[in-house]
């Protein structure tokens, strides 16, 4: 089992649900191939440095996972077929220095993911929060603040 990182860019024309569906689709391929997904980093909508297939923006997602080498061929085949994915790049981490960096990245990504999950949990309480979380990374701190404020309320309601 090797450590890999795959970055892929989804077309900006899709709606939010469609984008998440595409990400799930890619993850499903990995799960089918018995890969162990360690973390997911959502970079969100970004401006591309140059137009790709006439798109000026793209939705970036990074997956960190452990898998065998054959998995990559299958995954990249699927990414190539998928017309909604405009760019992808897989990086392998092998050397010890690279591995430490990989673990660091995984930790950072999972931390970020937990924060996002926390905001998702409190959706029934506050309906404004999800919109702010999804739009930009800059607004993430505010969302976190709301999350910390809202969580006690959520716990109370559960109790």
């Amino acid at each position: 089992m090797n450590c890999y990182e795959t970055l892929f860019v989804v077309k900006p024309t899709l709606t939010e649900e469609e984008t998440t569906a595409q990400i799930e689709k890619v993850k499903a391929v990995l799960i089918k191939e018995n890969a162990e997904i360690l973390a997911t980093d959502d970079m969100g909508m970004r401006k591309l440095a140059y137009p790709v297939q006439k798109n000026n923006r793209g939705y970036y997602t990074i997956l960190f996972y452990k898998a065998s080498g054959e998995t990559i061929a299958e995954l990249e085949r699927n990414l190539k077929i998928n017309e909604e994915v405009i760019k992808f790049l897989t990086v392998k981490y092998t050397k010890t220095k690279e591995m430490t960096q990989f673990n660091k990245l995984v930790a950072a990504a999972s931390k970020k993911g937990e924060l996002a999950e926390a905001s998702v949990v409190e959706t029934p309480v506050a309906e404004e929060a999800p919109a702010t979380v999804e739009t930009t990374t800059e607004e993430a701190p505010t969302a976190v603040e709301t999350a910390s404020e809202e969580t006690p309320v959520a716990e109370k309601t559960e109790a």
Partner: protein, 87 residues
């Protein structure tokens, strides 16, 4: 007598910061090694050591592939502030 060298002694900024790996997604880390037109700056100008220059090169090329930074900046599509997107 020739004019005296006025430049500072060059040193590797990555060695000083003890960087062991340069991530292609972390644009701030290798922004220093890019020219205004997003070319990779040569070692003789940046002072990077061989080891780190190789890391920087790989990171920049990966970032280009994933459209994080442009391959070229030309007069056809002028960007007002090219480094604005790197933050």
């Amino acid at each position: 007598m020739a004019e005296r060298r006025k430049f500072k002694k060059k040193y590797c900024k990555y060695c000083e910061a003890k960087v062991s790996y340069i991530d292609y997604k972390d644009l701030a880390q290798f922004k220093f090694s890019l020219s205004e037109r997003f070319k990779i700056m040569p070692r003789r100008l940046t002072g990077n050591c061989k080891k780190h220059q190789e890391m920087v090169t790989i990171a920049i090329k990966r970032a280009r592939q994933t459209a994080l930074i442009p391959y070229i900046v030309d007069r056809k599509n002028v960007v007002e502030n090219p480094f604005e997107m790197i933050k």
